[in-house]
Each structure stands twice: as structure tokens, then as C-alpha cells.
């Protein structure tokens, strides 16, 4: 695995600069059933395709941001700070 990613603060960097934070995973707002809670905590959609995910610029500015990436090709379509994410 080797590709480039653009930190919204620092610009283009090797992906090894960053830590992966996992796919966006909406936190339940109301008390979930145990099954829903387990799904939220332990299950991921793990899509083969385009998804939105969290990234952390570990070896840089230490910002969390969101990327849209194709998991099959590692093409990163865009990256954005959480309040600048384009509507899907």
C-alpha cells in the first residue's frame, strides 16, 4: 500500500504520514439495542468501493480530517476538514 494523500492543512504527503481512523461510523443518538450497539462498536461495512473515512495527520499537524477514497484503487477523491465536507 503506497499512495499520496492531501492533508487539508499541510498539503500532499505520503500516506505513511497519516493514521487511518476508519470509515465514518455514525454514533447512535438514542440508547441502542445490544445488537445495534455491537454493530456500531465492532462491525464495519468494509465496502469495496468509494467510502468516506477518518484520517489523522500523525506525522504532521495532528489534524483529523475526512477523505473520500476508493478502497479498490486507493484513489483519494478529496480530503476536507470535518466542517468543510461536501454534501454527499
Amino acid at each position: 500500500m503506497s499512495y499520496l494523500m492531501t492533508c487539508p492543512h499541510c498539503g500532499v504527503r505520503e500516506v505513511t504520514d497519516f493514521a487511518f481512523g476508519g470509515e465514518l461510523n455514525a454514533r447512535p443518538r438514542e440508547r441502542p439495542t445490544l445488537r445495534e450497539l455491537s454493530t456500531y462498536n465492532y462491525f464495519r461495512r468494509n465496502v469495496a468501493g468509494v467510502q468516506r473515512e477518518w484520517w489523522y495527520h500523525r506525522s504532521g499537524c495532528r489534524a483529523w480530517f475526512i477523505a473520500e477514497r476508493d478502497t479498490r484503487t486507493n484513489d483519494v477523491h478529496w480530503t476536507a476538514l470535518p466542517d468543510e465536507v461536501p454534501a454527499s
Binding site: 503506497s2 499512495y3 505520503e14 454514533r27 440508547r31 450497539l37 465492532y42 489523522y56 483529523w64
Partner: protein, 924 residues
């Protein structure tokens, strides 16, 4: 030392001599020589002993392709003598022969070892009796191999640096095609890097009459701005990132367009005795003559499948070497056997059916078995090859987007430059720098000299016919592996290890595929090739590892710990004082007078903003928004699954600011965790990590208050500065934050202050406490002290399954908080479903201290829990510990059995702190 008259374009400088040693003997060389050319000129013919049979091996390719000339240079093994330039004073030694290259006792394996050492012999011949395997293994390891690493790594002669390079175009291979491609792309405005294995670009042309053209193109490329990397090996292609090893630099090049002009690798022939010194590839012969002015022999025989051999014969004759015979397979004749004990003395030529046999005496056998396109890197980049029956090799069939091929590897004939030009122009076009180049006109197809496809093996039955020189795999071994069922090329590769040696299949992939096809009766397309894997060139692990990088964090006070005789240990990334030689005595000092510990390693975060309290309330299971300024509260962080992640104290500095401490090892993770949720929630909060900026020490003990009084004007009375109060005041003249907390169980002050003053404050406290018998204490006594208080260590007493309920801290979870918080639902569930196991304390009579991790057993001897911490406490005069046990046993006085290797220990459960259970000491 004899050399030919000056050759046009030769690499050596005859006016400058260089001296080095080989196995302790001095060798005279010329500047521009390689180790191998200098040794060959000095008469050396045996360069190494083979991996398994310890057969003599001599120069074969003279181009860094084969394993035959591997030597150690200045103690580092695995250096190719034929490409390594000579340096004054270098110490070159042979590998894998004992006592000497000339007299190698292990050569006996060649004579008698055949039946004993078939493929996989270590699973067969040497496996019984089993108890002798350790002996066998030791002997085999000693016998086999490609040299020894030095036992000690403390002296490193060189370091490598990583270099990232982003370019428009990377051209791999600096022959005429590669140079041409680089020029075409660079002249169109592209930023081009060209990597070439040789000491100067030009490739085959340098030794085969094209040196002037090659040097002119190299100059033109540099003039066009191409970054030319010489003596640079491209190791692999990893999703568009190509590591290139060049001396002490590992370039990591990423380019938008890749042009591979990697050329072809001339192939040897497989026949009896094909590994004898004196058997040399046509290209090797030409390099020795043209680059180094060396006549490779006096009387030569040539065995070839193409014009390459004939060209070499002409070069030999021009150099004054007699060419005694030529066996051209296109005329049906080839070589069946090379004879000689130490070196070729004669060869047997004949037809493949064995007829028309003829023995010719010679001291040089030139072989040329066609070529294999060097497609390995292209395959790694996503290209595909297919068998070309007319040429008898695997040729490029498909290239992915952004990958181009040029020159011989792409099938170009005698003039590779047009294909290079085309590739460079196409790369420039793909980058938007130029119009699409015109498609080359479909002229008359290039006339190609006829080539014959060599047989898998000739002269079988006359002696060992080597398919793989690196790993000493013979044609017979491949036959045997198919017989034993390893009938696919990938299986046979793993079983015989053919193609897995230092040449990385350059010399043996094609011969192995041909043998496999012959043995299985399949055609070559069907047999296919093994997967091309990195590294394409052998590379020292040190070059991949880069600069030794073991970051160590040291507190600002660290030099003092050294001076005080601390035993220093790793704690995460930190170097910490384990103890100062007397852990029990240091712990007792904290109870009896005072102790001082450096806790600068604690993670320290400032959380500030109008919503800081609300933010912490959402992160922690307990409440912080209602904490009074100047007060401190303990906090446990849990995940959304309700599992304990970290713990520490939270102090409210003022209405909008909190000072949060974390465990030493959890500092980074907590900062990351906080900033993640902050990014998600987007609250009006700012985080500042001050872990490195502040030093911290903990002064604790019955005399701590008096000592504090000598260091600060602050009223330290219990009434003015009570337990869990926080104050800001100068200490020893340094502005500090003082937290009255009690991790170690005695009255204590955690003092946080700018790290620059670390040693000053440390010294001042020790001086102020001298009359009270203050002692510095380390991590180990702190562990004893905290265990007496049953204060958990996250990660030691808890694991990824532990909840605050299981860890006996239900009071920390405030499910009645109005706000949602991380872990709320999982903890609500845990509250309704009591934990099956619980963390408890236990005591043992003085004596045995169980190992941490020892099992807790039920009455039938089944494991039902485990010990997480255990220490002898001199203060309490007994052994104390913590363990996870079934909830039914989590009551005071319950008896548990601890199994520690052969010992069975009877322990008694305690649920309250062993020392000062009601915290009276702490609050006093």
C-alpha cells in the same frame, strides 16, 4: 598483471594504480577497475564457492547479474565483485569456503553429497534421529550459505538515508533506449529521474562499440535537466513507489509516468559442468575486453544460439585470443560438457542427440543462450508477459496505464533509440506537455537475425547440469521435485529454492521453466513464470532500514537520575529511572520521611474554552463540568464499548480551563482520542498538549508538607491546601502548578513546572528535604506503593475487555448524567449485567511472590483467573497483589489458589486497599 593495449572507450585509467587486499594478499589494480576485473587481471579464476556443494565458481556475467563473484568487502558480505569499484585499501575476502578458497573442506559435499542432499534434504536425510537435529542444523548452517554477518552490529560503517523524490517521469535503465526516453521527456519540459545500475549510463553499448554514442546521450540528458542516478538499483515497484538503492541513499521515487528500459539478461546454457570457472557469458567476455582491457583467456570455444556468440568471437580474436571452435545451435551443434577440475580444460561439443561429438581443449568457454527480457519490475508495476515461442522467452504482452517500456525489454532490435524516443514522447504527452507523438510508420518489419531456442538441458548424465547457480539446483533436482509431486513452477521453486537466490531469477528463471516444461510435458506458456517479487536487486537490509531510529524520550531531569545511580529502563518511548538500587528501601522512605519521583512522563493536556467542561463530560463517564476551580478529580477514560482506555487526574484551573493528566504510555493516544472527538463534535474547545513542555515531580511522605513549606510561600496546611486541591505558586522560585494527590498513598504534592527548570527544582527539593531523609524513588518502588493502595495501572491490571465495573470502580460511572458520553450505552448495559469476573486484591504470607500473569485455579485445578500485579511489601510485611477472579470469589477473605509454574500458593482476597484503606493518611 597483463592488460591488452588500450581499448576504445575503456573504463580503466592506466595512469592511476589502486591497491587493495584479497584474503590478506595485496592486489594491484587500476583506477576504474572493479574488484573482479582487477583480480581477473591478476590471475584469479575462482571467485567463490557455491552455496551447497562448495564448487568453484568464476566470473560469468561481469554485469552484476549472477551470484558467482559475491565477496565480503571490509567485513560486509554479499558484495558483487564484478560491479564494485576498487578503492584504495579495501579488504576483500572470499565467502563460504574454509579454510581457504583454494582448499575448501566442505567441497566433499560435491563428491559424495549428491544422494545425501537432494532438494528438501533437511526434511529427509538429516531428520532422524530427531534428537540429533540441533546438531545437524548447526553443521548445515555452518556448511551452507552466502557468507556470515558480523556478530556485532555496534560498529556501523555507513548509514543510509531515505530520500523522497516526486518526479514527472522515472526512467528505469540507462541504456541507449532509456537515455533517449529521458531526453525526449525532459526536452518536452518534464521533471525526469533516470536510474541506472551501472557506474555510468550507457548499458550494453559501453562494451559493445557504442560508448561514444552512449556518452553523448548521457551528456545530452544531463543538459536537458535529467537527474541521472548511477550505480542505483531499482528494488521493486510498490503501487507506484519505487525504492532505489544508491550507495548510502534509499531514494523513494514516485513518478506520474514510468518508463522501463531495463533491457535483457543474457542467459547461460544448461549442460554438464556449466558452472566451471572459465565458462563465461558472451556479454561478460566483451565487458572484460572492452571496459578493462583484459583478455579473458588464451584459447576459447564459443557455444551460442544467436549472433551474440559470434560477435564475442570476433571481439576475442581482435583481442588476440584464439577461437578454437564455435558451436552454433542454429547449425545444430551445442556444448554437452565442460571438463576440468579447477577450471575449464576442454569442452565436448556435439549435436543434441549426442552424435558428432568432438572434444576441444580450451581455457575459456563462451556461452550465449539467448536473452530473457528483464520484465520483473514491469510485472510488479502491473505489466503482463506471454511466452514468445520464436524467441524462447517471456516477452511483454500488456502494460498498465502510466507504464511504458522501451528498448530491448520491449522487443527493440539492434537500434533501441527510436523506441526510447517514442516512449519519452508518449510520457510527455500523457503529462500534457506535448502533442501525441506520431505512431511509427508500419515500415518493413525489422530484419531480425535468426535465433535458436536452447534445449532445457544438454549433456545430461555427464555430470551436474546447473539450472540455478545461486542455490546449486541441478536439472536433476527439478526432475526429482516433479517426481515428488511438486509439478507447478511455484511449488518447485519453493521446494528446490531455484530462482530464490541472490540473482533473483535473472539467470535461472527461464532455465527452470524450460526444465519444468520438459519434465511435465507442458508447453512453456502453460508452465508460466513465478511471480516477480521484490527485491529485483539484492540489497543489504541496512539500506532498507535506513538510519537507526529508536526515538527515546528523556525527562528534563534525566541527567540527575544518572548521577544518582539510577537503573534506567524503557517505559514506552521513555527512558525512566527503574530504581536507585534499593526499591524496597526507597518505598519505605516514602512512608517514613519523604520520597521524590520524576513523573514528567505523564501526559499533560490543557483543555480550554467555553465548552471545556461539557467536552470532558462527554468524554469521561464521570462529571467534570461541576468541578470547582482549584479542585482535582480522578477520571477513567472508556471507549464506546465501555472498556477502560486510560486514567489520570483532571484539575480545573479556572472556569474555562482544565489540566488533564494521562498515563505516561497513553499520552499520545489520549491526545489523538480527544482531538478526534473534538473534530467530530466541533465544540468550542482548544486542546494543547504540554506533555513535553512541562516537567513534573511527586513529593510524597509524612514530611512532604514541611519540605514544601521550605520551598514555597504557599500555606501548605491541610486546612489551606487539602487533599485534591490544586494551587499555583512558585516552588523554588519557579512558577508551578501543585496538585495534592496521592497515587503512592502518603501526603503528596505533584508539582508541574516548565521543563527548562527540571533539574533546578529537583535539586532544590532534595536539598530542602535532606534533613528529613528524603530519597529519590524510581518506578519500581512507586509500583509497590501504588499496589498497597490498589491503584490500578491501566494495561497492567486491566486489558481491552476491562470495564470500570469489573475493575471495581462502579462509582466512577455516572449513568444519571444528563449528557450523552462515550461508553454510556455499553456501561449502562454492563451495569445491568454484572461482570462475571472482578479485579480484587490478595495477600500471601511473606515469602513467595507469584509471577505476574500466573493463573488463579479453582478447587479442581482449572484456571479461573490471573494475577496482574504482585509485590513484596516491606511496609506491610507480606506479599500483596491484584488478580482477576470470578465474581463469586470477589469478597473479603475468600481463598484463592495461585498456580505459578510448579508452586501452588494459597492467597486471601482483599477488596479494600492494603494500606490506609480509609484514606486517613492521605487526607491528613
Amino acid at each position: 598483471m597483463s592488460r591488452l593495449p588500450a581499448q576504445p572507450g575503456e573504463r580503466i585509467d592506466r595512469s592511476t594504480s589502486v591497491g587493495f587486499s584479497f584474503d590478506g594478499k595485496r592486489v594491484e589494480a587500476l583506477a576504474g577497475d572493479t574488484i573482479a576485473s582487477a583480480l581477473y587481471a591478476a590471475g584469479q579464476r575462482t571467485f567463490s564457492r557455491s552455496f551447497k556443494y562448495h564448487r568453484r565458481r568464476g566470473l560469468l556475467c561481469c554485469a552484476g547479474q549472477c551470484p558467482n563473484c559475491l565477496v565480503a568487502v571490509d567485513g560486509a558480505p554479499g558484495v558483487r565483485a564484478c560491479t564494485e569499484p576498487v578503492r584504495e585499501g579495501m579488504a576483500v575476502e572470499h565467502l563460504n569456503a574454509s579454510p581457504s578458497l583454494e582448499h575448501d573442506v566442505m567441497a566433499v559435499t560435491d563428491a559424495v553429497g549428491g544422494p545425501l542432499t537432494p532438494p528438501g534434504f533437511y526434511y529427509k536425510t538429516f531428520i532422524r534421529p530427531r534428537r540429533l537435529w540441533p546438531l545437524y542444523e548447526k553443521a548445515l548452517r555452518h556448511a551452507a550459505g552466502l557468507g556470515k554477518l558480523r556478530a556485532s552490529q555496534d560498529e556501523r560503517e555507513w548509514r543510509t538515508e531515505y530520500r523522497r523524490r516526486h518526479a514527472d517521469v522515472l526512467v528505469v535503465g540507462g541504456g541507449l533506449a532509456g537515455l533517449r526516453a529521458a531526453i525526449a521527456a525532459a526536452e518536452a519540459g518534464a521533471d525526469v529521474v533516470l536510474a541506472d545500475e551501472g557506474p555510468e549510463p550507457g548499458g550494453r553499448a559501453l562494451a559493445e562499440g557504442g560508448h561514444e554514442r552512449a556518452r553523448a546521450l548521457a551528456e545530452q540528458a544531463r543538459g536537458a535537466g535529467v537527474e541521472v542516478l548511477s550505480s542505483a538499483s531499482v528494488l521493486g515497484s510498490f503501487d507506484g513507489l519505487l525504492p532505489i538503492w544508491q550507495a548510502s541513499t534509499l531514494h523513494q521515487v514516485r513518478a506520474r509516468q514510468l518508463v522501463f528500459a531495463t533491457g535483457v539478461v543474457e542467459q547461460p546454457l544448461v549442460f554438464a559442468g556449466n558452472d566451471l570457472p572459465g565458462v563465461m557469458l558472451a556479454g561478460g567476455v566483451r565487458r572484460l575486453i572492452a571496459l578493462y582491457g583484459i583478455a579473458p583467456g588464451t584459447r576459447a570455444v564459443v557455444a551460442t544460439t544467436s549472433d551474440r556468440g559470434l560477435e564475442a568471437a570476433r571481439a576475442l580474436e581482435a583481442a588476440g585470443v584464439e577461437v578454437a571452435a564455435i558451436a552454433d545451435l542454429r547449425e545444430g551443434r551445442t556444448v554437452l560438457e565442460a571438463e576440468g577440475r579447477k577450471h575449464v580444460r576442454a569442452v565436448v561439443l556435439g549435436r543434441l542427440d549426442g552424435s558428432d561429438e568432438r572434444r576441444v581443449e580450451c581455457d575459456l568457454l563462451v556461452v550465449s543462450g539467448g536473452v530473457a527480457p528483464a520484465t520483473s519490475l514491469i510485472a510488479q508495476a502491473g505489466g503482463r508477459t506471454a511466452y514468445d515461442a520464436a524467441r524462447g522467452h517471456f516477452a511483454l504482452a500488456e502494460l498498465p496505464d502510466g507504464v511504458l517500456a522501451a528498448g530491448a525489454v520491449a522487443g527493440a532490435g539492434d537500434d533501441p533509440e527510436p523506441s526510447g524516443q517514442q516512449a519519452g514522447a508518449r510520457a510527455a504527452h500523457a503529462l500534457g506537455l506535448a502533442d501525441a507523438p506520431p505512431t511509427p510508420p508500419d515500415g518493413p518489419p525489422e530484419r531480425r537475425a535468426h535465433e535458436a531456442v536452447p534445449p532445457a538441458v544438454s549433456g545430461a548424465g555427464r555430470g551436474k547440469c546447473f539450472a540455478c547457480l545461486c542455490e546449486d539446483v541441478t536439472a536433476k533436482d527439478i526432475h526429482l521435485s516433479v517426481d515428488e509431486g511438486y509439478d507447478s513452477i511455484e511449488l518447485s521453486k519453493r521446494y528446490t529454492t531455484a530462482t530464490m537466490g541472490p540473482c533473483q531469477g535473472r539467470m535461472c528463471q527461464l532455465p527452470a521453466v524450460r526444465l519444468m516444461a520438459q519434465e511435465t510435458g507442458q508447453d512453456l506458456e502453460r508452465v508460466g513464470t513465478t511471480t516477480a517479487r521484490p527485491p529485483w536487486s539484492a540489497v543489504p537490509l541496512g539500506a532498507l532500514a535506513g538510519r537507526p531510529f529508536e526515538p527515546a524520550k528523556r525527562s528534563a531531569i534525566h541527567p540527575r537520575h544518572r548521577e544518582l545511580g539510577a537503573r534506567v529502563m524503557w517505559a514506552g518511548d521513555w527512558r525512566r529511572a527503574y530504581d536507585y538500587g534499593d526499591p524496597q528501601g526507597e518505598a519505605l522512605a516514602v512512608h517514613e520521611g519523604a520520597g521524590l519521583i520524576d513523573v514528567s512522563t505523564l501526559g499533560k493536556l490543557i483543555v480550554r474554552g467555553p465548552e471545556a467542561g461539557a467536552f470532558l463530560d462527554r468524554l469521561y463517564p464521570n462529571r467534570f463540568a461541576n468541578l470547582e476551580p482549584g479542585r482535582i478529580r480522578y477520571g477513567v477514560l472508556t471507549s464506546d464499548a465501555g472498556r477502560i482506555m486510560d486514567d489520570g487526574t483532571v484539575c480545573r484551573l479556572d472556569e474555562e480551563s482544565f489540566y488533564v493528566t494521562t498515563t505516561s504510555s497513553g499520552a499520545g493516544a489520549v491526545e489523538q482520542w480527544f482531538s478526534w472527538w473534538l473534530a467530530d463534535w466541533r465544540m468550542q474547545v482548544a486542546l494543547t498538549d504540554v506533555t513535553q513542555g512541562l516537567a513534573a515531580v511527586n513529593l510524597a511522605g509524612p514530611r512532604a508538607r514541611e519540605i514544601m513549606g521550605r520551598l514555597t510561600d504557599l500555606d501548605c496546611s491541610n486546612e489551606a491546601f487539602g487533599y485534591l486541591d490544586a494551587k499555583r505558586a512558585p516552588v523554588a522560585g519557579v512558577q508551578a502548578l501543585l496538585l495534592r494527590i496521592g497515587f503512592v498513598g502518603e501526603v503528596g504534592y505533584e508539582i508541574h513546572f516548565p521543563a527548562a527548570h527540571g533539574q533546578h527544582v529537583w535539586d532544590a527539593i532534595l536539598e530542602a528535604g535532606a534533613q528529613d531523609g528524603i530519597r529519590p524513588f524510581g518506578l519500581e518502588p512507586q509500583r509497590i506503593l501504588r499496589l498497597q493502595k490498589m491503584h490500578i495501572l491501566v494495561g497492567q491490571d486491566t486489558d481491552s475487555e476491562s470495564t470500570p465495573y469489573g475493575a471495581a470502580m462502579p462509582w466512577i460511572v455516572k449513568l444519571d448524567k444528563d449528557e450523552d458520553f462515550i461508553g454510556k450505552w455499553a456501561l449502562a448495559h454492563a451495569a445491568e449485567h454484572p461482570s462475571e469476573t472482578a479485579l480484587v486484591g490478595f495477600t500471601l504470607p511473606d515469602g513467595d511472590v507469584p509471577t505476574e500473569g500466573a493463573a488463579v485455579l479453582d478447587e479442581r485445578g482449572e484456571p479461573i483467573g490471573q494475577v496482574t500485579s504482585a509485590r513484596h511489601s516491606r511496609q506491610l510485611g507480606q506479599v500483596i497483589g491484584m488478580a482477576w477472579v470470578p465474581a463469586a470469589l470477589a469478597g473479603d477473605g475468600a481463598a484463592i489458589t495461585i498456580s505459578d509454574e510448579s508452586r501452588r500458593l494459597r492467597a486471601q482476597v482483599m477488596t479494600r486497599p492494603f494500606y490506609d484503606p480509609d484514606g486517613e493518611v492521605l487526607r491528613s
